[in-house]
């Protein structure tokens, strides 16, 4: 690269950094922007507490592992960091922010610069910050235990962090690519159904092996423990262990293998980014001409008991949702949560029957149903985010906003009902059948939580809307005010629900919980109705701000 070329590249990168800074500063011009900054500060404070607390804990653990001469046990710390780094961004899209850097491609940006910009955008993320902090804690712990290991530890952790960073970006880029095709989504849907069916077979199989053939389970565990050594978290800890045992060549070899992982994953990311750089378009469909006989009349959906516009908006919402791959992926998370709790390591550290939620359908069903509602908060608290310019259509057409909001709530409620039903089936398959009174209490709690979330969500959707493309992964962030208020609502709702369960448990009678929750349901439904009754006026008052915010390019 010539010096002039290098200078030009640095100038470009500086310009991009400056633009990001100006965008941030300009966002503070509005009152909402300032409130957003405060909310973001509070959220980041929470992350900081978790990050620093976790770093301290990890540091202490790392110190003792190395002090005791068991550096290989560092893998126990690195695997959770690795899993958090990769899973958290997908599960909490509200906190992830990876601005769409493809906008920059209109400028004569060099590919290397584009690659670096993508990585830099991806680094500004809570998962990276927390993962980095925890890794730093481990570094300090090891450093205090054996200062001579510090330089090597730094090298290994840098490689480990690079791997996590690159892998996260690669997962986003590739999953987005796969889910952009309808056919792929259909294949994934079938795979998911197969998974649900196979889940029913897993429980008896595990039961069979754990009761009939414990050695087989131990053998499987041994294979897992041996196998993890060849993956990045295992390689990183092994490298440290080998160096601490003065096995220089082996330690270096493990680090080289770790770096090979970084380069392999980086190459996959390179393939994706290069395609983007060359102007790839993730078009939904190929341009196949339609045959004349296909042009038949397709009637819109009918929703019994609801007005035609409500049915029309419901149909539109469902169709849009079915075409939003990342959102669909988020919606199946409760099932994965159940599977992880059932077969994950947490289940084996305690005796069956005592682990949470272990083998108890009594806790698994409420927890998974609650999580099902949580996965919908992105939609519930930003009702119009996915509509973008379409908000003008809602304001231009002769339909009351109340009907439009009602239709969106009906959509989200339908998805929640469907999810809860699936969760119930999976809980029965994995944990056993929850009691009837517990099922009723959970459903009552869910209706209460849904009504509260819908009420607050409807108001926030109008007061604090944010344009959102539900077809892309992690390139956007919900309004921080919305995130903060929704968190407060969840704490309140969960607190009240858990409180009623606790009282019921205390008296050994779930019917008490049912009674309390039914009362809460009635109150929350009244509140929901009151909000809906005033939503036309609120939407009218906030019309200008809504259009300005959602039609923004």
């Amino acid at each position: 690269m010539t010096e002039a070329g290098f200078t030009a590249r640095v100038t470009q990168l500086r310009a991009i950094a400056w633009v990001r800074w100006r965008l941030f500063v300009n966002s503070l011009r509005t009152r909402r922007g300032k409130l957003d900054l405060i909310s973001r500060g509070i959220v980041w404070l929470g992350f900081a507490i978790v990050g620093i607390g976790g770093a301290a804990g990890m540091g202490v653990a790392a110190f003792f592992f190395v002090w005791e001469g068991k550096a290989g046990l560092l893998t126990v710390l690195l695997w959770p960091i690795f899993l958090f780094w990769q899973v958290f961004p997908i599960m909490a899209t509200a906190f992830t922010n990876n601005p769409d850097s493809t906008d920059l491609l209109r400028f004569p940006l060099n590919y290397v610069s584009y690659f670096l910009v993508r990585l830099a955008y991806g680094s500004a993320d809570p998962a990276t910050a927390l993962g980095g902090l925890w890794s730093f804690g481990i570094l300090l712990g090891v450093g205090f235990a054996r200062p001579s290991l510090l330089p090597w530890m730094l090298l290994v952790l840098l490689a480990f962090a690079a791997f996590n960073l690159v892998l996260m970006q690669t997962i986003f880029a590739w999953v987005e690519r796969w889910l952009s095709r309808r056919r792929t989504r259909e294949v994934m849907g079938i795979l998911f159904l197969l998974l649900l069916l196979s889940v029913q077979l897993i429980a008896p199989l595990i039961g069979y092996f754990t009761t009939q053939s414990r050695p087989a389970v131990h053998r499987f565990g041994e294979i897992l423990i041996q196998g993890q050594k060849y993956f990045p978290p295992g390689l990183a800890s092994r490298s440290i262990a080998q160096i601490s045992a003065s096995q220089w060549r082996a330690g270096f070899g493990s680090l080289v293998l770790l770096c090979a992982f970084v380069f392999a994953v980086g190459y996959c990311l390179h393939l994706r980014l290069l395609a983007q750089y060359r102007g790839e378009s993730l078009s939904e469909t190929s341009a196949k001409p339609v045959l004349p006989q296909d042009r038949r009349l397709r009637l819109g959906w009918n929703l019994p008991g609801f007005a035609s516009p409500v049915a029309a908006v419901f149909e539109k919402e469902i169709r849009s949702l079915l075409r939003s791959g990342p959102m669909l992926l988020t919606l199946i998370m409760p099932i994965f949560m159940l599977i992880i709790f059932r077969f994950g390591p947490m289940n084996y550290v305690r005796q069956p029957g005592t682990a949470f939620p272990g083998h108890t359908p009594g806790t698994a069903f409420p927890a998974a149903a609650g999580f099902a509602l949580l996965t919908l908060t992105n939609l519930i608290y930003n009702n119009f985010g996915g509509d973008g310019n379409g908000i003008q259509f809602f304001y231009a057409c002769p339909v009351r906003f109340r009907d439009i909001v009602l239709a969106k709530n009906v959509t989200h409620a339908s998805v929640l009902v469907m999810e809860t039903a699936v969760v119930w089936v999976v809980v029965i398959s994995l944990f056993g059948k929850p009691t009837i009174s517990l099922t009723i209490a959970t459903l009552a709690g869910l209706v209460f939580a849904a009504a509260v979330n819908f009420s607050v969500g409807n108001v926030l959707s109008i007061y604090s809307p944010k344009k959102f493309d539900y077809s892309t992964f992690g390139r956007q962030r919900a309004s921080q005010i919305t995130v903060l208020i929704s968190m407060a609502v969840q704490i309140l709702v969960v607190g009240m629900a858990v409180g009623s369960f606790w009282i019921a448990r205390h008296y050994g009678n779930y019917r008490i919980a049912n009674l309390i929750l039914v009362m809460l349901v009635v109150i929350s439904l009244f509140a929901y109705r009151a909000v809906l009754r005033h939503i036309d006026r609120v939407a009218q008052e906030r019309q200008e701000m809504m259009v300005a915010e959602l039609c923004r390019a």
Binding site: R295, R298, G300, P398, V399
Partner: protein, 270 residues
Amino acid sequence: MDAAPTICTQSLTRRFGEFVAVDGIDLRVSRGQFFGFLGPNGAGKSTTIEMLTGLLAPSTGRIEILGMDLAAHPVEVKQQIGVVPEGMSLFGRLTGSEFLNFAGRMYGLDRETAARRTVELLDFMHLADQPKKLVTDYSHGMQKKLAMAAAVIHGPKVLFLDEPFEGVDAIAAGTLKAMLQGMIARGATIFLTSHVLEIVERLCTHVAIIHQGRLVAQGSLEELRAGVEARAPLQGEGSRSSGEKMTLEQIFLRTVGGMSPTDQELSWLG
């Protein structure tokens, strides 16, 4: 002119903080008129059209559409009008067919009528070839045609169009013009803004010009021409022979004072 105009505004004003975007304009558009609303960039055209369609509340002033007060009867007015705003207001994750079906039902059509008109409009607009294509994957011109189709699916009596021909190819523009002229022939009223003055001159029977938020001219093309010539007789415009009519572009430039090209030269441009 009708006693009761289809569109009537009184002292319509819109302020954004200290800035006055539209400053007390009085518009009168009669039934069956093809009305062109012109102005330079930032003059207040889109703001006016947004206020006329209920997309933006006026700061002061009154709007009547088809004899109904827009502020008092927004739903009733919206049932009678169609609008293609600047941002086109489409839903990207629907197909064209799904969007039109949806629009028809939101404007009160029953399911069968909405479905039938959807098929007819897709055919008419030459959008039926790729039924599974999502709106987000449409070209700009296709999106414009789809927005236009959605605006007329309920057979509105008044149609508001913000730059309807922008980004539309010549064939599609011809189709749209034929459709709009057909609507006028059947008694509808069309209110459009456009920067393409040739199109406005060819289509519109009446024109209003807005400049810096104020209405500076309003009337038929002949009335505007006469007004401009009366205010400032022609001086040395060699390109026009005596007796030749003044074009809309000349009327526009004289009205808004845009005849002074800058002396500054960008010498670094190739």
